[in-house]
């Protein structure tokens, strides 16, 4: 019989992450509510750069994903890992480093994103110094987790830990892959890959950020906390093994479904579609495993708000993972993509799956940590119903908005013209749906604050025990001498084998899809007339990135008649070879801009950026007065030119020395045209708006016939 050892679980680190989850959940959804309201009441952009939708939206997504869900993951992992392995965490220092490092990264994101410091890669917007900090903290988390696994008292690794391991290794690979960038300055960098290659890598990352940050770690939490809350084992442990391997293998391939009908080669799109459809099987296997865990306990689900939250969370997971594959079928995607359908789909996942599972875990965990009863079950039930209503009011109007807008985009008259030729008509039509969505968000927020109050009262009533006494037999004694060393060594190596197996599983898909795109030149046919951006256009492009225009505008005309009629020639992959980063976007709250160049006179853009409603009455686009007031900062321009040349953009040797003068020459020309149209102002040539106009007028013109300015 093995000797029983005494040890103490570290609850202090779990409490820290729980508090951070509670705080950043509030921040994330409040910022989201602000963004939702801005689409209904544009005045809520406050005419200030830092609070404008284009900068608020990435703040919301980063806060929700990395601050709220991120801290939720760590809360659950630090609690369950210790108990599943019957040991305390490997290193107190790493606990603290991980916690405070992660919060510092969140703080850095909260400062830099509103300042417009962004790489524009969705969910990877943070600039390179913060990327390095993320890497350091993530490695610390990994060392702490593997250190704990290696000093465990339980021989076997429960399936939840497999999901944690796969999460760690995949996020590591994704983070490195999508943040390969060349710094220009402390807060500016350009990605190594351009155009279609950058797009493929970004959505390989973007999709798998959903898969391996919002899904696999939460599946690990589901496999631990659902049995704990229901007080019964998981329905089928065998199914969980198949669920794990099938899910992590397939998930990594599905990224290209974000790029259907774009300039991405067809073979990559097809792979994305096929694997997305296959993804239903393991996802539903996991969902059913979760729901069936409650077999014979449904009477408790009616009474217990914790189980209610968990059931709706798992159901939302099932809905989202059915809908996702459906949206990956090209004919469905042709309708859904770039519309609010995607936003509705995503929020079933985040509000339902991540949100509700987190709430269930918090309602279970806080009373355990503070050794007291939950303050009020009635309030928890109220939260459940308010939150569920909030999700319904959030998602259903957005589905309706998505279908409505997409059908309007594609509607032709009997004579063959676009029925809604003015894009704005398709936006004003769905503003009531945006208002209902904001109502749904308000309900969700209200429910959240009910939870915070309930948990606060619970905490006040309880007494926290930072270190919980525990005991378990030492692991070393369980390896029977008669069994020989081989078996024992195999067990010891098992976490490493799991790590290697997971790494191989997730690398196969990424390599098959990305390597041909990056290594084979003819995957991106070049077009002779496509030239690098001028110095001023480049500056304008960086302003477009800074302002987050990508949040609402795509630069990807798909090969549909409804799009070529509206925007012009469909987009070719060869047009983007100098686009670092690519700016195809994923949502059209405003129209596509890829063929915007030479469509309107310079003065139209000037007035439109100053007050969009002056050119487009009823527009919900924010105003950008600071672009007209602020001087363009050219100090980094030479460094930008050199960085881009290093990455392969064919700027002539020595151009960096002329770049500022060249930019000024082009600015003078644009300012002269503006003055001709009656727009004047002191130092007009120096203003940021001039650079932005230069960029907007360049868009899509490399393969566009003769200019039609003034038409």
């Amino acid at each position: 019989m093995a000797q029983v050892e005494q040890f103490r679980y570290d609850n202090a680190i779990v409490r820290k992450f729980a508090y951070a989850t509670m705080v950043f959940g509030a921040v994330g959804i409040l910022v989201g509510l602000l963004a939702a309201l801005q689409l209904v009441f544009p005045a809520l952009n406050f005419s200030t750069a830092e609070t404008t939708f284009g900068r608020i939206r990435p703040l919301h997504t980063n806060a929700a994903i990395f601050a709220f869900v991120g801290n939720g993951i760590f809360m659950g992992v630090y609690y369950s890992l210790q108990r599943l392995l019957k040991t305390n965490m490997y290193s107190k220092f790493l606990n603290e480093f991980h916690f405070w490092g992660w919060q510092a990264i969140i703080l850095a994101a909260a400062i830099t994103l509103p300042l417009g410091i962004t790489s524009s890669h969705e969910y990877a917007e943070l600039e390179w110094p913060i990327d390095l900090a993320i890497a350091a903290v993530w490695v610390a988390f990994g060392v702490n987790m593997f250190g704990t696994i290696l000093k465990r008292r339980e021989n076997h690794l429960y399936v939840a830990i497999w999901f944690y391991i796969a999460t760690w290794v995949t996020v590591t690979v994704l983070h490195i892959g999508n943040n390969l960038e060349l710094p220009v300055s402390m807060w500016k960098s350009y990605p190594v890959f351009a155009g279609v290659q950058d797009a493929l890598i970004q959505w390989w990352y973007g999709h798998n950020a959903v898969a391996f940050f919002l899904t696999t770690p939460y599946l690990g939490l589901m496999y631990y906390f659902l049995p704990k809350a229901a007080n019964r084992p998981v329905y089928s442990y065998r199914l969980s093994i198949i669920h794990f391997w099938a899910l992590i293998f397939i998930y990594i391939w599905a990224g290209p479904h974000h790029l259907l009908y774009t300039s991405l080669p067809d073979w990559a799109q097809s792979l994305g579609t096929v694997f997305s459809i296959m993804l239903i099987a393991p996802s539903w296997g996991g969902m059913l495993n979760g729901l069936l865990t409650l077999r014979g306990a449904w009477d408790r689900v009616r009474q217990d708000p914790i189980l209610k939250f968990m059931v709706v969370a798992v159901t939302a997971y099932g809905m989202a993972t059915f809908e996702g594959p459906m949206l990956s079928i090209k004919s469905v995607n042709a309708i859904s993509h770039f519309t609010d359908w995607t936003i509705g789909h995503v929020h079933i996942g985040t509000l339902g799956w991540n949100g509700f599972l987190t709430f269930g875990v918090l309602y279970w965990l806080i009373p355990q940590l503070f050794r007291t009863k939950l303050y009020s079950q009635k309030l928890a039930n109220a939260h459940f119903w308010i939150g569920t209503l909030g999700i319904l009011f959030y998602a259903i109007p957005l589905y309706w908005a998505g279908w409505t807008q997409s059908l309007m985009w594609k509607q032709f008259t009997a004579d063959g013209f676009l029925q809604y030729g003015n894009f704005l008509e398709t936006v004003t039509q769905i503003i009531p749906m945006y208002a209902l969505r904001a109502l749904g968000g308000t309900l969700y927020v209200a429910g959240y604050f009910v939870m915070l109050y309930n948990l606060y009262k619970t905490i006040k009533a309880g007494s926290f025990q930072a270190y919980e006494e525990a005991e378990a037999p030492a692991r070393v004694a369980t390896a029977g001498a008669h069994k020989g060393e081989h078996w024992h060594r195999w067990i010891e190596r098992r976490p490493v084998q799991l790590l290697i197996g997971s790494t191989i599983a997730i690398l196969i898909g990424g390599m098959v899809e990305i390597f041909p795109m990056v290594m084979i030149g003819d995957q991106v046919p070049t077009i002779e007339s496509v030239k690098p951006y001028t110095a001023l256009e480049l500056q304008g492009r960086d302003l477009y990135i800074r302002e987050g225009c990508i949040s609402c505008h795509t630069q990807m005309v798909r090969p549909f008649r409804s799009e070529t009629e509206r925007y012009g020639e469909y987009s070719k992959s060869g047009e983007f070879i100098y686009d670092r980063p690519f700016l195809w976007g994923s949502k059209r709250t405003g129209p596509d801009l890829h063929r915007l160049g030479n469509k309107y006179p310079d003065s139209w853009h000037y007035n439109h950026m100053l007050d969009p409603t002056s050119m487009s009455p009823g527009s919900i686009m924010p105003v950008y007065p600071w672009l007209i007031e602020d001087d363009l900062d050219n100090s980094l321009l030479p460094a930008k030119i050199m960085a881009l040349r290093t990455l392969g953009t064919p700027y002539a040797e020595g151009y960096e020395e002329e770049a500022i003068a060249d930019a000024q020459r082009q600015a003078d020309e644009i300012a002269a045209r503006l003055r001709k149209d009656g727009i004047d102002g002191e130092g007009l040539e120096q203003k940021e708006i001039i650079a932005l106009i230069a960029y907007l007028q360049r868009l899509g013109t490399d393969i566009k016939p003769a200019p039609q300015a003034g038409n």
Partner: protein
């Protein structure tokens, strides 16, 4: 129907077929691994989260 879905997905080339076969291999290996495990081991693993007693008795930790 599945054939139609695949066809409408675009050109299904050898890479997609090879990928499907690779997945089948992963699926079959994991299924074999899962079903060859001893029932006692599976049962023990499934009950692992429940081995650790909750600091609070789940039945008594809520009022009202």
């Amino acid at each position: 129907m599945f054939k139609y879905i695949l066809e409408s997905a675009g050109n299904i080339n050898w890479m997609a077929i090879a990928s499907l076969l690779t997945f089948m291999a992963v699926f079959i290996i994991s299924a074999v691994m899962a079903f060859r495990s001893q029932p006692a081991f599976i049962d023990r693993m499934a009950n692992l989260p429940l081995e650790e007693p909750n600091p609070l008795n789940a039945e008594n930790d809520r009022h009202e």
